[in-house]
């Protein structure tokens, strides 16, 4: 139980998808002008993470690695192609569900909903999960050794991304009224802001949960 909680909290603050690993930057920068849409996108990303990371975990441990030991065939090289296929399929599913149950959210997100499929954060979470399977749960608080662990990791990563994008959207809304030099306007000042926020989040790196 403690391990779940530790994984969950660490992936929100210490291993934050944006501030520690810079995953999902493109849609992060594009959608963060408005707090409402940023929140909607964050929820969508969290949901997609929650359904793809456990599926990828099961794929990796039950299928790819199993064949490694039985037939002497190392199938882990197929992991990239399989993961991206799972993600593309799941995003298609999420699109259909959102269109059916909440047409206003579908209209608000527009092109960014299908773009979640190529969001580095989703693929990155699966790839990090793949690395963490190899860690020993007894010595490392980051190890993932069960489906429950992968769910805690996915949920934490999604909420961390959501937190980051809502914070940036709130700051950018206020910055629209500031006096920024012309070449620095728009993208330049956004990068510097995110950099300062990343420095602030570095304070969490000593967290010992």
């Amino acid at each position: 139980m403690e391990h779940f909680f530790s994984l969950f909290v660490r992936s929100i603050f210490v291993d934050n998808m944006i501030f520690a690993f810079f995953l999902g930057m493109c849609s992060y920068l594009a959608v963060s002008k408005n707090v409402k849409t940023a929140f909607g996108l964050g929820i969508a990303v969290t949901f997609v993470l929650l359904i793809t990371v456990p599926v990828d975990y099961l794929l990796q441990t039950r299928i790819l690695e199993k064949y490694t030991f039985e037939g002497g065939l190392d199938l882990t090289f197929l992991s990239f192609i399989l993961f991206i296929a799972v993600i593309a399929g799941m995003v298609q599913l999420v699109e259909m569900i959102v269109e059916k149950f909440s047409p206003s959210l579908y209209a608000a997100l527009g092109i960014f909903l299908p773009l979640i499929a190529v969001n580095c954060a989703i693929m990155g979470a699966s790839l990090f999960m793949q690395q963490r399977i190899l860690l020993d749960p007894a010595t490392s608080s980051q190890a993932i050794s069960s489906v429950g662990d992968s769910i805690a990791y996915a949920l934490g990563s999604g909420i961390g991304w959501l937190l980051a994008i809502v914070c940036l959207a709130a700051i950018r809304e206020k910055m629209a009224y500031s006096d920024v030099p012309k070449p620095l306007q728009g993208l330049g000042i956004t990068f510097i802001t995110v950099g300062l926020m990343a420095m602030a989040f570095m304070c969490f790196s000593g967290l010992n949960i």
Partner: protein, 209 residues
């Protein structure tokens, strides 16, 4: 020979190097630009890998562009890119293992690198193989240039070395000079990138005048 290097072909190659730079202007491929640049060697390897993968995926998709059904366009593109990334990732693991460990997850994340998908959708789907190849090389090199600049600054000030060779003399350390630890942190990469964009915009503004 003049047909091979016609005006359009040259433009496809030179535009992304400066005026249409994928990182500074198109704002694509930010994730990996920030994460792998803490030292110069991984930055160079990453830049070269992305150049090669962009060029060849552009060629492959351009060759089969007339036969891809519209509904599964994205999945086909993703699978082609994933296959190329798997090949490059294994080559890197075989020949430059220490760098591939440093790059860890980010080699796999080239699949979701916005530059690749962006160029496939915007260029390769509508142009012939040779122009697509040049466009791929141009965008890849434009990306690589920014990576090398950021990696150079970060390694020089963060470690006092370039490509592993100690550049700042021991005498300077004895006199009280200290390495800037922040430069090795992800947060500084964001601020540096903001400054690079600032410089790029200011320089191009003067050129346009």
């Amino acid at each position: 020979m003049s047909k091979l290097f016609s005006k359009e072909s040259k433009a496809a190659f030179t535009n992304p190097l400066n005026l249409d730079n994928p990182i500074a202007v198109q704002v694509l491929g930010i994730c990996s630009a920030l994460a792998v640049t803490s030292q110069l060697k991984p930055a160079i390897v990453m830049g070269l890998s992305v150049t090669v993968i962009t060029a060849f995926s552009n060629v492959i998709i351009s060759l089969i562009r007339k036969t891809i059904p519209n509904r599964i366009r994205i999945i086909v593109q993703l699978v082609v890119v994933a296959a190329l990334v798997t090949i490059v990732s294994n080559i890197l693991k075989a020949y430059v293992y220490d760098v591939s460990v440093q790059l860890s997850v980010y080699v796999g994340l080239i699949i979701t690198n916005c530059i690749l998908m962006g160029r496939l959708e915007a260029f390769a789907m509508m142009n012939g193989p040779w122009e697509s190849f040049l466009d791929g090389i141009g965008n890849g090199l434009g990306y690589a240039i920014i990576l090398v600049v950021v990696g150079f600054v970060r390694e020089l000030f963060g470690f006092g070395s370039i490509l592993g060779f100690q550049v700042i003399p021991q005498a300077a350390y004895d006199a009280g000079y200290m390495n800037n630890g922040m430069m090795t942190m992800p947060a500084m990469a964001l601020v540096l990138l903001g400054c690079v964009i600032w410089a790029h915009r200011a320089y191009n503004k003067e050129e346009k005048k």
